[in-house]
């Protein structure tokens, strides 16, 4: 091997390794970048931990609950009419509720109901809302004159829905559907629809104006394809964020409905909102009866909010720090 060659060789190697040392962070995709930031955000971590715990409890709750949540096992020991309640004690870590049921078991099992309400109503809002939003967004960006008209009509409609205080909307729905767990879910879900719709539409309009869409149009790609392959995927991130956040709102709204007496009708199936609403009456004598579910609701809602906010920040280049 000639000296020339060797020098040439290690010239290149040397260069290579030096170049490697000075790292270059160019062209990282939005999502990977977001994920990187998410991993670094305390908010996200805390949020995730809370959610994980909550979901775990919700899933295994019924099996790990020491007692049946609806059995009035210690009926004789609690005297609401004399203001005598049983606080935490061996066997009943959270004490008994006003009907002699194991509060701890109720809280544990209640988690599932709460999660159920949150998730399902969120999904209702998300699916319908996204559909509506996508439709009008696509119409607006690609539909031309007619599309714009379609868009305005749809938006008027969401305006109407936005105009109604969510509680009233829920109440109205309950009035027609009668009182039931489904009602609560539907009510809370419907309330979310306009938010999702407007959100998706908004970001789709933004995307619609962007260069790559114009390019795609110029290239004569079919409109449906553009909408599905180009615009939608890029418009989703805010929707995902909103979905996380609305899990929190859903849980809180549900609690409010329960407080207004529109909650889950079967009180022997524990649900935090209902438990809280019910326990108010005994706040003076058995404050913890309200505190357990209340804390449950607040923490859980907080968990989703934290994650949602963290995601929002991670996805928003402007808020980078």
């Amino acid at each position: 091997m000639s000296l020339q060659a060797t020098t040439k060789a290690n010239k290149v190697d040397r260069l290579a390794e030096l170049t490697a040392q000075s790292e270059t962070s160019a062209g990282v995709s939005l999502w990977r970048e977001a994920y990187r930031r998410l991993k670094r955000s305390k908010m996200a971590i805390i949020g995730l931990v809370i959610i994980a715990l909550f979901v775990l409890v919700a899933v295994v709750g019924p099996w790990v609950a020491p007692h049946s949540p609806s059995a009035q096992l210690w009926r004789g020991e609690v005297f609401p009419n004399k203001g005598l309640f049983v606080g935490p004690r061996a066997g009943n870590w959270f004490g008994l509720d006003n009907l002699g049921r194991d509060e701890f078991s109720r809280v544990i099992v209640g988690a599932r109901q709460t999660l159920l309400v949150g998730v399902i109503s969120m999904l209702i809002g998300l699916v319908i809302g996204a559909a509506v939003g996508a439709l009008s967004g696509a119409a607006a960006t690609l539909g031309g004159k007619v599309g714009q008209r379609v868009d305005t009509v749809i938006m008027r409609f969401t305006d109407i829905m936005l105009a109604l205080p969510s509680l009233l909307l829920a109440v109205s729905i309950a009035a027609v559907m009668g009182q039931s767990l489904t009602t609560v879910m539907v009510a809370v879900g419907v309330v979310q629809i306009p938010t999702f719709a407007r959100l998706l539409r908004g970001s789709m309009l933004a995307q619609g104006g962007s260069d790559y869409v114009l390019a795609a149009k110029a290239l004569g790609v079919r409109k449906r394809r553009i909408a599905l392959t180009q615009i939608m995927p890029n418009s989703l991130s805010p929707v995902i964020v909103q979905a996380t956040l609305s899990l929190a709102t859903a849980i809180i709204e549900a609690a409010a409905l329960s407080y207004l007496g529109l909650g889950n009708p079967d009180p022997s199936v524990p649900e935090w909102g209902v438990m809280l609403a019910q326990a108010q009456r005994f706040f003076d004598n058995a404050p913890m009866m309200s505190v357990y579910p209340a804390v449950g609701i607040i923490i859980t809602a907080l968990g989703f909010t934290l994650l949602g906010e963290a995601m929002r920040e991670a996805l928003d280049p402007k808020l980078r720090g």
């Binding site: 008027r156 409609f157 305006d159 109407i160 936005l162 105009a163 109604l164 205080p165 969510s166 509680l167 009233l168 109440v171 109205s172 009035a175 027609v176 009668g178 929190a248 809180i252 609690a255 409010a256 407080y259 207004l260 007496g261 529109l262 809280l276 108010q280 706040f283 309200s290 209340a294 609701i297 607040i298 809602a301 907080l302 909010t305 934290l306 906010e309 402007k318 808020l319 720090g321």
Partner: protein, 334 residues
């Protein structure tokens, strides 16, 4: 400007029309239909029949809708089942209280929220930032009615600092001028009355302000952070302007634009929170009235209220747009 107003007012029409259709369908879907919705307890078959006749429920659906609209246009929202009085009168009677409460809540939210959000942004990562951000996050997560009960339990029942219910202590009653207790007191010189009304306002207003406050703090913070990074701030700095000029004229002014919109929308949302807050504090506004209406299935009231709110909401948005077009020149053109 005027054209904007007119345009938006025109937009109001289709919205309300659509809404009225929804409501009409809803009313007819109700178990038992409008008749039983209108009649109260112990409604005999005779009554129902009479009502149905009166409502002309025998006529085709579009005629019925026509009548429905006609009544709405005459501001005839029907009669409250609870009170047996015209719904419209009931609203007129109670609306001021709710407005008073909402405004108070908004004032609190704005006066506290914007400075807090600004400082949080400026001292990003500082203890104030952490505190206000986490505070606002929690604020959103506490169910309003629970917060209300907590505040009431502490400050009214145990500390006795504030009254536990109502707008005015019994016996005191500022003569009605505007219907806003605090204002009336001042106008008629019954200062003790307005003072008393103010004390009554504190707890509900604080409760009601919790959510808007939380949101305003976070929005202000975010938008200040965004503006600070803008080129024109660098320009302002490069001109060697004093800090207060840069902060006031350049940063804050721009940062508040999105916040203003938010405030408008939030005000609309307040009415929802008012239902819970007012009912906890037995605050004699529309909120608590609606709560009882919900319990009593007082449908005429609910329907009326929904239309009422829709109008208020759209009007608020109109105001926001106007405000916006004043503070943001870019909107003014076109």
């Amino acid at each position: 400007m005027l054209r904007l107003v007119v345009r938006r007012l025109l937009q109001l029409i289709p919205t309300l029309l659509g809404l009225s259709i929804l409501l009409f369908i809803w009313l007819n879907r109700l178990p038992g239909g409008p008749a039983s919705a209108i009649l109260g307890e112990r409604a005999t078959a005779a009554d129902v029949a009479r009502i149905n006749r009166a409502l002309g429920l025998d006529q085709p659906i579009y005629v019925q809708y026509g009548r429905f609209i006609k009544r709405l246009l005459e501001l005839d929202l029907g009669t409250s089942v609870q009170t047996g009085q015209p719904v419209w009168d009931e609203f007129v009677l109670r609306f001021p209280a709710t407005v008073e409460l909402s405004v108070a809540a908004m004032i609190i939210a704005i006066l506290v929220g914007i400075p807090l959000g600004y400082l949080a942004a400026r001292r990003r990562g500082g203890w104030l930032d952490v505190a206000s951000v986490s505070g606002s996050l929690i604020g959103i997560c506490v169910p309003v009615f629970f917060l209300a009960l907590l505040l009431k339990g502490i400050f009214a029942v145990n500390l006795g600092m504030f009254p536990s219910y109502g707008r005015l202590s019994t016996g005191l009653d500022a003569t009605h001028v505007t219907g806003f207790a605090v204002l009336d007191g001042l106008l008629t010189g019954e200062l003790d009355a307005s003072g008393d009304a103010l004390m009554h306002l504190v707890l509900p207003a604080v409760t009601l302000s919790s959510i808007p406050l939380a949101i305003i703090v976070r929005m202000t913070r975010a938008s200040v952070l965004e503006v600070v990074g803008e080129d024109y701030i660098r320009t302002a700095e490069s001109k060697g302007l004093e800090q207060k000029t840069v902060r006031g004229r350049h940063i804050l002014r721009n940062a508040l634009l999105p916040v203003v919109t938010a405030i408008g929308l939030l005000t609309g949302g307040l009415l929802s929170g008012a239902v819970l807050t007012e009912s906890v504090f037995a605050f004699g506004g529309i909120g608590s009235f609606i709560r009882t209406a919900i319990d009593a299935r007082d449908y005429p009231v609910l329907v009326g209220f929904i239309l009422f709110i829709a109008m208020v909401y759209v009007l608020i948005n109109l105001l926001v747009d106007l405000a916006y077009s004043v503070i943001d020149p870019r909107v003014r053109v076109h």
